[in-house]
Symmetry: C2
Subunit: 304 residues, 2 copies
DNA sequence: GCGGAGCATAGAATAATCCAATACAAAACC
DNA sequence: GGTTTTGTATTGGATTATTCTATGCTCCGC
């Protein structure tokens, strides 16, 4: 337990610099006895006489006072730096931002967003991490992330989320599949077909819900937590898939051709949100980033 | 003016380390609400939310809290270092000691004392300075010296002094001077002789006072503030001198032989003291040094 | 001496800090 | 699903710091 206070050190340093208790007090805008008492208490608590009192002509630091105050000066300077930084953290757009992203969203959106934001605010550093929905919830709750980019599916009540974009699910087919001839596909038509399911929460529950809403009980032939594996399996003709994320290009990793078709039914959209912990007071930087993301997705929408 | 306190930072760091307000409070031996209130206030004052509260399972640092607390940790560590040092300064025998010495005493005593003390307390550093009596008074009063080695002549009332040694004055003559045949010389015998006066305060007044007490009004042929110059002038046969300091050996710098004779009269002794500013509370180190000096001079006396 | 300069002290008001007790919310347990 | 457990926030009251104004005290310079 520390026995002295930063206030006492500030006063003592000002006294040393000005050679006067009264002038130091004036510099801080406090009464002279406040400073007088503060240094008296400081001396008592560190057990050293810091100042020599010259009646009617101020004070000067004692030898041990000089040694003490030299180190105290470092301490106070460090404290002032910290204060300046926190002042900046409240208002300035700089510092570090810890962002989490749902795995399948990360490659599609994170690079653009981060690069665009850094172009505008070059002093901002990013810590970026991708993970499952649960991992992100956990990250927000224990302070690993400031904000997280994810789907608003099964969002816990302790999180806040600003909606960034709505995406409709689509059907992914092997290029040679008979249904490919249709521009739009009704979910009912998939009833007998084998499904390759993207098996990662919350995507899994979302896709199954969409199919169930159309009265389809899918026959799950394969499932994988990896988007690219799912696309590869579909490319190999092992079934269809229902997905939201649309990677650029219509080929799987192994080169097999894929076809993307809209769904004829009315479906529940997948909503991409930027989530944060409700009880968390956001920094100015976080607010600005949130705002940037909203505008970024608006621009994307206008373009398509 | 700093808006947060070291106490708040200490509490916040302990909370972060233990992940719990209650355990942090226990570690400091204070009640849990004290810590709770302290971090609430700290958050208000720095304008950042530092912790995320998990009901029923403690708290964890928020992302901006992690960044803030990392720097706060430096600050508190520095503050603790400073406290440890001041604790040591009060009790331990280490640190720096600023010693002043009267010019003519310095070469005779300072090297031995400093070397002897450092042999016993190797962690003590010395800042050493020699000067005139006035310079030393000034140095004590404005904190340039912790202690000063000087003659207790015309000692101002605002100084304290512990007596180290009494030295009788002696007569210095050229080796071939007729009076050299005598073992002791009465001051009256010097009445007509030219005096080479060590002209530095307070030696000057002291020597003149000793002569005046014996009824001698000296004929001052030469004077110099340098002891070695005085000895040189006496060696050249330009007069006698009355001195206290007895350098080792009976030759001047230029090799001329000198003779030292006691004074037959009862004379006022020169008292060497270690002076300090009365209003100054001494450090433990200063007290130990003072004590060492007393014992050192006692040993010298026993040896002669 | 006597006035001026400047720190220390006294006393009162205000603010911070502390404690004990309690309210409260989520989690865990049955 | 309710009940207990765990851990933080709040409340109210006592203690202690900090601050103020006013005054005392001591040395300096004239």
């Amino acid at each position: 337990m520390l026995r002295y206070t930063l206030r006492q050190l500030e006063y003592a340093l000002a006294v040393q610099e000005r050679g006067s208790v009264a002038r130091a007090a004036a510099a801080f805008g406090v009464a002279q006895p406040s400073v007088s008492a503060a240094i008296a208490k400081l001396e008592e608590q560190v057990g050293l006489q810091l100042f020599i009192r010259h009646h009617a002509q101020g004070v000067t630091a004692a030898p041990q006072g000089v040694r003490f105050l030299a180190e105290a000066r470092n301490l106070v300077a460090l404290a002032q730096d910290l204060q300046r930084e926190t002042d900046a953290a409240g208002t300035a757009i700089e510092g570090t931002l810890a962002i989490g992203s749902f795995m399948t969203l990360a490659p599609a959106f994170a690079p653009q967003i981060i690069a665009g934001f850094r172009a505008q605010y070059p002093n901002v550093k990013f810590r970026f991490e991708e993970g499952t929905q649960e991992h992100l919830f956990d990250g927000l709750r224990n302070g690993r992330h400031d904000l997280a980019l994810l789907y608003s599916v099964d969002l816990p009540a302790d999180l806040d989320a600003v909606s960034l974009a709505h995406f409709s699910p689509h059907i992914l087919l092997p290029a040679h599949h008979p249904l490919c001839k249709r521009r739009k596909i009704a979910l009912g038509e998939l009833a007998g077909e084998p499904l390759v399911l993207l098996d990662v929460m919350p995507s899994r529950t979302y896709f199954l819900r969409v199919l169930a809403a159309a009265g389809v009980t899918p026959e799950i032939a394969f499932s994988s937590p990896s988007l690219e594996v799912v696309r590869g399996l579909v490319g190999q003709g092992l079934g269809y898939s229902i997905l939201i994320t649309r990677p650029h290009g219509d080929h799987a990793y192994d080169g097999e051709a894929l076809a993307i078709r809209d769904i004829a039914d009315e479906t529940e959209d997948g909503v991409i949100v930027l989530a944060s912990l409700r009880q968390m007071r956001k920094t100015r930087l976080a607010i600005v980033f949130e705002d940037y993301c909203v505008r970024h997705f608006e621009k994307l929408k206008g373009r398509s």
